[in-house]
Amino acid sequence: MNVEAKETMNVEAGQKIKFYQTGTLTVGNRLLDEDLRTVQASEERSNAITSGHRACQGCGEALGARYALDAAMRAANGKIIAVNATGCLEVFSTPYPETSWTLPWLHSLFGNAASVASGVAAALRRLGKADIRVVAQGGDGGTTDIGFACLSGMFERNDDVLYLCYDNQGYMNTGVQRSSATPPTARTATTPAVGTAPGNIFGTGKDVPRIAMAHGIPYVATASVADLHDLERKVTNAMQVRGARYIHILVPCPLGWGTVTNATIRVARLATESGLFPLFEAEHGEIVASSPIRRAVPVEDYLKIQSRFAHLFRPTRDDAHLAALQAIADKNIQRYNLLRNDHGNDARKEAA
C-alpha cells in the first residue's frame, strides 16, 4: 500500500475528510473546518518572516521557521519576541538595512540564544508584560554544539522560553561542516568521503531531544517540514504551557544534503518514514505521543537521493554501513513504537 488515507471530520458538514499523504496535506486543508486548517491557510496569518529573504531555493529552515513562528504568534495573539542564534536564518533574513521579520527580533551571538531569551523573559516578567511570549531559535550548530551550555541552563532553570532548533544536520552557513547533529557516514566538508571509513564517524553525535527530556522540562517534541500540520500543532501545544519548551525540527538543506531543490519535503518525509527521524512529543520527561510510520521504507530510500551519502552506493555498495544505519532506524522504530496500526495521538483525529 503506497497511499494511506488519514481521516478526520469536517465538523460543520459532519463529513469525513481524507488526507492523502501526497505532499503538504493542502489537498484536505480547504475542506477542513476552519479551526483545523493550518495557520498558514488563514489570510490572517502573521507572516512573521516575509518573502524576499535570501534563503536558497528549497530551504527547509525558511519554511519551518515561517510555519513555527506564525503558529506561535497565533497562540500568543501576535505577542511574540524572537531571539535568534547566528546562522543561515539570521544571515538570510536580516541583511541591513533590510529585514524579513515582522515581529520584534534580536540576534546577539552564535552560542547564547537560549540565555538571551532567558533575559528577555525575565525582563518581561519584571516589567509586567508576561503576556508577551519568547521564542528562541537556532540551527543545530547553535543548539547542539556551541549553544548547548546556554540551552541546558535555560532548561534546568525552566525559564519561560520556547526554543526551536532547526536541524539541517550540519554547519551549512559556513559551507557544510560537521556538527554533533550530522548523521553517521554523511559527507561534510570536515568529514570528507575519503579513506576506509568515508564520511562522518559512527558512534558520535548527540540526541538533543532526549537530552532535553532528561531535564524534565514541561514539553519536548520533534517535528518535520514534511508534516506542517503536525509542526503547527506542536508549536501550538508548546505555547499552551509556561516554562522551558523545546521543539527539534528537521529542515533539509539542499546544498548540504545534495538534494534537488524540489525534494526538500520528500527527503524530510523519507527521514521519518525510514525511522531515522522519529516524530514524538514528551511532557515532563515522558514520551506521551509518537507519529506512527504510515508507509515504512528502508533507510536506503532516504539515503540514495542525497549526494552526501553517495559513497555508500558508489563505486561499490557499502552493505556494512547501510546495515548499521538501518539498525539505527530499527532502534528508533522500536523505542518510539513507530510501526503500529493506528494513527497516533493526533490532534486532528482527536478533534474529529
Binding site: 529585514t99 534580536l106 546577539s108
Partner: protein, 418 residues
C-alpha cells in the same frame, strides 16, 4: 544591619537614627549601591573576588530588601552577560559582575553588548589572568578587554566604588552604552571600610526610570542585531567611537552634578594630588593610589617636588586631560598592575601617546601583579631613583631576580631529545 548589643539599658527616650557612615565590606557596599539603583534583572555566576557582591544581592532580592528584581543564577559568565543583553534589549535595567577568567569567558558578549549599545552596568572585581592560575588582584582582566567599546571606570576607594556605580547607571542610560566599574579584587571588594550610602529617595532623584533607546516590543517590532556588510559597518563603528568621545565630555559633568547632589567629589576623568609645582608626577589607577599618596606625602616632607594623577576614566582614554594634568611635570611615572608581555605596560603606552607632543619622559613601573604587595617603601625608592634620573624606562617592582635567573638558566639548558 545588625543591632548592636546594648550593655546598659537606655535611660529615657532614645532617638533612633541610622548612622551616616557604616563600617562594611566593599562588596556589601557595592551591592547596596547597585540595589539603590533598582536593577530589574541581575544575573550571576560565581568567581572570586566579585562573588560577595552577587551573594549580597541575591540575599537582598530574597529578603525583599531589593524589590522588583529578578535574580538569575546562570551556568557561566557567558550566559550571565547574555541574559543581561536579553533583559536590557527587552527594556529592563540589567546588572552583572565578574572577574578575571570570567570576563574572558564572556568576551564575545562584552563586545556584543557595546556593539548593540545596551546600557548594562557590570562590576569587575579586578584579578589576574592565568596561566598560572592566580586569584589575586591586578588589572590584567580589564586590560584584556580595554578596547571592547565599554566605558571603564576605576575606583580608588570603596566610597568611590559606591559613587561610581551610581554614576555608571546614569551615564550608561543617558548615552545608551555599557559601563564597567573596576574595583580592585580583595583590596577593595573584601576590605571593611567606613562608607556612606545615600538614601533611596536621593538615588531615585539622581537616577530616573530607565528609558531604553530601543526596545523589543510586539506593538512596534524592530530588528536588533542585523547583519551589517561593508557598505555600513564603518559608519556603525564610527558612531560607536563618537559615542565614547561624548562620554568623555559627559563624565566630568556627571561628576560635578554628583558632587552638587551628594556632596562628594567622586568619579570624573582624573584627580590630581599635590601636582602644584611637581617636577615628578605619578599616574595610576585604582586602590594603589592610596599608597602612592602616602609616599608622596613622605617625599614632599623631604623636599621632593612630586605629585600624583589618579586616573578614574580609562576608556574612553582621556588623552587631552592626561596631557594637561602632566604638562608642567618634567617626568611622568606610570605605576600599573598589568603587563602586556612583549610590549610593556599598556597604561604607560597610552600615557606616552598622550604626551607625544612633549619632551616629558614616561617611566613605566609594573607592580602588584597577581596580588604582589606594593609597599610604600618600594614606591618611595622608585620615585627617588626617578628624581635622580636613575630609573630605567621600564621597572618591574620588587622582582625576585634570583628566581627569574634560575628559570632562564633552566630554559637555556634545555635540549630536545635525540
Amino acid at each position: 544591619m545588625k543591632t548592636p548589643i546594648q550593655l546598659t539599658p537606655p535611660k529615657g527616650p532614645v532617638e533612633l537614627t541610622l548612622p551616616k557612615a557604616r563600617q562594611i565590606e566593599g562588596s556589601r557596599a557595592i551591592a547596596e549601591a547597585v540595589g539603590l539603583c533598582r536593577p530589574q534583572v541581575i544575573c550571576a555566576y560565581p568567581i572570586t573576588p566579585q562573588t560577595h557582591i552577587v551573594e549580597e544581592l541575591s540575599a537582598m532580592v530574597k529578603t525583599g530588601e531589593l524589590m522588583d528584581c529578578e535574580f538569575i543564577n546562570v551556568e557561566s559568565e557567558f550566559a550571565a552577560l547574555s541574559v543581561a543583553i536579553g533583559a536590557s534589549a527587552a527594556g529592563a535595567r540589567a546588572y552583572t559582575a565578574t572577574s578575571s577568567q570570567g570576563l574572558l569567558y564572556m568576551a564575545e558578549a562584552v563586545y556584543n553588548a557595546s556593539g548593540m549599545q545596551l546600557p548594562i552596568v557590570m562590576t569587575l572585581g579586578n584579578r589576574a589572568i592565568g596561566a598560572p592560575i592566580n586569584i589575586w588582584n591586578d588589572h590584567s582582566d580589564a586590560m584584556a578587554l580595554r578596547d571592547a567599546g565599554w566605558v571603564l571606570l576605576f575606583a580608588e576607594t570603596n566610597q568611590e566604588a559606591i559613587d561610581l556605580h551610581l554614576q555608571a547607571f546614569r551615564l550608561a542610560e543617558e548615552l545608551s552604552t555599557p559601563v564597567m566599574v573596576c574595583v580592585d579584587g580583595f583590596i577593595l571588594t573584601h576590605a571593611y571600610e567606613e562608607v556612606e550610602l545615600p538614601t533611596p529617595e536621593a538615588v531615585d532623584r539622581w537616577l530616573p526610570k530607565f528609558q531604553p533607546r530601543q526596545v523589543l516590543d510586539p506593538a512596534e517590532p524592530i530588528t536588533m542585531g542585523a547583519l551589517v556588510g561593508p557598505e555600513s559597518f564603518s559608519e556603525v563603528r564610527y558612531l560607536a567611537h563618537r559615542k565614547q568621545l561624548r562620554a568623555l565630555e559627559r563624565i566630568p559633568e556627571l561628576s560635578a552634578e554628583f558632587n552638587a547632589t551628594f556632596g562628594r567629589n567622586s568619579g570624573g576623568i582624573l584627580r590630581t594630588y599635590k601636582t602644584e609645582g611637581a617636577e615628578t608626577i605619578v599616574l595610576a589607577m585604582g586602590s594603589i593610589n592610596g599608597t602612592i599618596e602616602d609616599a608622596i606625602d613622605e617625599l614632599r616632607r623631604n623636599g621632593h617636588a612630586i605629585g600624583a594623577v589618579i586616573l578614574t576614566t580609562f576608556r574612553p582614554f582621556p588623552y587631552a586631560s592626561v596631557a594637561a594634568a602632566l604638562k608642567n611635570a618634567s617626568q611622568a611615572i606610570v605605576v600599573e598592575k598589568s603587563l602586556t608581555a612583549g610590549m610593556g605596560g599598556p597604561l604607560a603606552a597610552d600615557v606616552t601617546l598622550a604626551l607625544a607632543n612633549t619632551s616629558t619622559p614616561v617611566y613605566s613601573v609594573i607592580a602588584g601583579l597577581g596580588g604582589r604587595p606594593i609597599p610604600q617603601a618600594s614606591l618611595e625608592s622608585i620615585f627617588e631613583r626617578a628624581r635622580d634620573r636613575e630609573l630605567p624606562e621600564t621597572t618591574f617592582l620588587d622582582l625576585h631576580w634570583d628566581a627569574v635567573n634560575q628559570a632562564i638558566t633552566k630554559e637555556l639548558s634545555w635540549t630536545p631529545h635525540t
